[in-house]
């Protein structure tokens, strides 16, 4: 009965100042919760960044002529000055670099592309050898006969043998179905664009990728510009819901590729895209004679792989030293995803501490305001508390009423703050964790923080009531 009466009084007392106190409690809750959430998100993001630093994707060091890099103004300036820009036979240098820089474990050439999907071709059709789009004049007749399977001499010979055996064996319905369908019965993939990459044969080793079925393309596929394709695990599943990607043909950018391999699921990324989502086709290397010597280059960027995370800096220094010596200082520019990520992690740390400091200031100001307001309200309630005592309320009754009175705005503020902070945290999660979308923001610390934000003003609000309860009612009802 007394508790219900106290709750009733508290509701009436809180009514007039609910919005004021709730706003301040809201401020405390939001500031504390968002800082806690931001802290957790940043820590999780930093942990994810540190984990990524150990993955092959972040062991890469890209090498490109300085003119091809982002500084177009500098490039134009150099061209305007008619400065001689050396044609750099990078691919030729790659083997020497791998020998001379012990911190390197390998290199590959790769170029991210987005393919447009055309209709699938059927077995038995002859595919026009379009070679590589955009390099038509240099490319040879890259097509082949034989439709669904790579022809003899392409890719892994063992794979070809296995494939032939499977074709001969009618008890292997999967492959049989894939290669014997009539053109009209082939269903084109239900996607219009496929993210992919032109890669050389070293790419798969560099990323430590494993096959779920089929084989990788070989160095021979590169030199002969064969139209073969290795599909990432998720891409294969997306393109062919029946799970029978191997041996099928797919037409991308006007070229019909045969899927000769499907990768196992991988956590790795290449150039910001998950390996699982990509289609890999050979990145052709071109050779010609220039200046009296054979020069070869590839269309993609040359990438070196450091042996491990600890070797990246040494590898960078080694490559830079080699290139400066062999080609000339400033002609080549190196870029390391690890360095970029490390720099970003540093910025993130600064951002975190700045946000944390600002949130702490907000919390402090809001808490002080709330404490002051709660105390002022309680002091103003002095005579009311005295009158309640005069008409029969015990000390405990007045404390209970004060407790309830402060619990209403504190609880309301906490809940409102919690809801707002969750929305803010979710909205900001993408900014905090750009390289992953599946990070779960930890709510428990935030809940504790919000609870603390509610309990502090609650405690502060009832302190005057407790103090007054020990005073004689006469002192409370007396005019000030």
């Amino acid at each position: 009965m007394k508790a219900r009466l106290a709750a009733y009084l508290a509701r009436r007392f809180a009514k007039g100042k609910l919005s004021e106190l709730m706003l301040m409690a809201l401020g405390v809750a939001v500031a504390v919760f968002t800082s806690a959430t931001a802290a957790n998100a940043t820590i999780a993001s930093r942990d994810e960044g540190r984990r990524l630093l150990e993955t092959p994707d972040y062991l890469q060091i890209q090498v490109a002529p300085a003119m091809m890099m982002r500084d177009s103004d500098e490039a134009i300036e150099r061209l305007d000055s008619e400065e001689t820009v050396p044609l750099v036979p990078l691919v030729d240098l790659a083997d020497r670099l791998l020998t001379e820089v012990p911190a390197l474990s390998g290199s590959f050439s790769a170029q991210r592309v987005n393919f447009t999907v055309g209709e699938a071709s059927a077995r038995g059709q002859q595919f026009p050898g379009a070679g590589l789009p955009g390099l038509g004049g240099l490319a040879g007749p890259g097509g082949f006969e034989g439709g669904g399977l790579p022809p003899e001499g392409f890719g892994d010979p063992a794979l070809a043998e296995v494939a032939e055996a499977m074709l001969a064996d009618s008890s292997t319905p999967a492959m049989d179905a894939a290669v014997t369908q009539e053109p009209s019965s082939l269903t084109p993939p239900l996607v219009e664009r496929v993210p992919g990459a032109r890669v050389d044969a070293s790419f798969f080793d560099s990323f430590r990728l494993r096959l779920a079925s089929g084989g990788f393309f070989s160095a021979d596929d590169i030199t002969k510009r064969n139209s073969v394709l290795v599909a990432g695990h998720a891409l294969a599943a997306t393109l062919y819901a029946d799970g029978l990607a191997l041996g099928r043909n797919i037409r991308l950018d006007g070229v019909t590729y045969t899927i000769i391999g499907v990768l196992q699921p991988s956590q790795a990324n290449f150039d910001g895209r998950a390996i699982d989502d990509l289609a890999f086709v050979p990145n052709t290397r071109f050779s010609f004679v220039a200046g009296g010597r054979a020069v070869s280059f590839s269309a993609g960027q040359l990438t070196f792989m450091a042996k491990d995370a600890a070797s990246v800096d040494a590898a960078l220094a080694g490559i830079q030293s080699f290139l400066d010596r062999e080609i000339g200082a400033g002609a080549m520019r190196l870029s390391s995803r690890r360095a970029e990520l490390t720099e970003r992690l540093g910025v993130q740390d600064t951002l975190f501490w700045t946000a944390f400091f600002l949130a702490a200031v907000c919390v402090l100001v809001a808490a002080l305001n709330l404490m002051n307001s709660a105390a002022t309200h309680a002091v103003k309630r002095r005579r009311t508390l005295g009158m309640l005592r005069a008409i029969g309320a015990t000390r405990a009754d007045t404390i209970l009423a004060a407790l309830y009175e402060n619990a209403i705005p504190a609880g309301g503020g906490m809940l409102a703050g919690l809801a707002l902070a969750v929305i803010l945290a979710r909205r900001s999660a993408g900014l905090l964790v750009p390289w992953t979308t599946n990070l779960v923001l930890p709510l428990l610390p935030g809940l504790f923080a919000a609870l603390a934000a509610a309990l502090v003003p609650l405690a502060v609000g009832i302190i005057p009531a407790v103090f007054f309860s020990h005073s004689a009612p006469a002192n409370l009802v007396r005019p000030e």
Partner: protein, 223 residues
């Protein structure tokens, strides 16, 4: 009913104590109307507060129905205030967040009445002071006289034995003050004891027992 024997009230340390009451003895009988007068600082309000168990004496003995109140717990003192005493103050002391009817119902709620029963009785009490039409108004929406009438209705909610009024007309115009005094004397006529602290000689003269205080001591008692 109430007997004070050599009641003392001192504030501050032992060496620098200020004696608000230096030894007051007083008896209030059932149905009595006692007025307490005296200059400012003479201890009138302090005496009323001690009578109403709103404050505790630092010396002397307080007997209620021949039982000493010294040593009673907070709960027991609260019960006595709730059931036996009613208070009317100069500044009304209504709770501003509650309507008139809710203010009047509050002592009933502390006595254990349900909200519905308390509000029903409170409405009747407001009607008895002529304010049933203003029952759901907040104190800020009432005039001073109306507020004091609400305070009187609240004071009599639990049918107390004694009503203690501290300058009940001090903040009111004379006409309104007279109305309030008429309400109180009517109650007294009905058998409720009345103790009124006042500066007003006219009101002071209305008491059956008239006490004059000076420097914390009873200077004169007249009947």
């Amino acid at each position: 009913m109430i007997e004070l024997k050599n009641i003392q009230k001192a504030y501050g340390d032992k060496d620098s104590a200020v004696h608000a009451l230096a030894g007051v003895s007083l008896t209030i009988k059932r149905g009595d109307f006692v007025t307490i007068m005296g200059p400012s600082g003479s201890g009138k309000s302090t005496l009323l507060h001690i009578l109403g168990l709103l404050d505790q004496a630092t010396g002397g003995e307080y007997l209620l129905e021949n039982h000493p109140v010294t040593g009673l717990s907070d709960r027991e003192l609260s019960r006595i205030r709730n059931e036996h005493y009613g208070f009317v103050f100069q500044s009304f002391n209504l709770i501003p967040e509650l309507t008139a009817i809710e203010n009047v119902a509050l002592p009933l709620r502390y006595a254990g009445e349900t909200k519905k029963a308390a509000l029903a009785r409170a409405l009747g009490l407001l009607a008895s002071v002529g304010l049933d039409k203003r029952a759901w108004h907040y104190p800020s929406q009432l005039s001073g006289g109306e507020q004091q009438r609400v305070a009187v209705a609240r004071a009599i909610a639990n049918e107390p034995d004694v009503i203690m009024a501290d300058e009940p007309t001090g903040n009111l115009p004379s006409g309104t003050g007279a109305e309030i005094m008429r309400l109180l004397t009517d109650l007294n006529a009905g058998g409720v004891s009345l103790v009124v602290v006042t500066h007003d000689d006219h009101i002071g003269a209305m008491g059956h027992t008239r006490v004059r205080l000076c420097d914390g001591l009873v200077e004169a008692v007249a009947s």
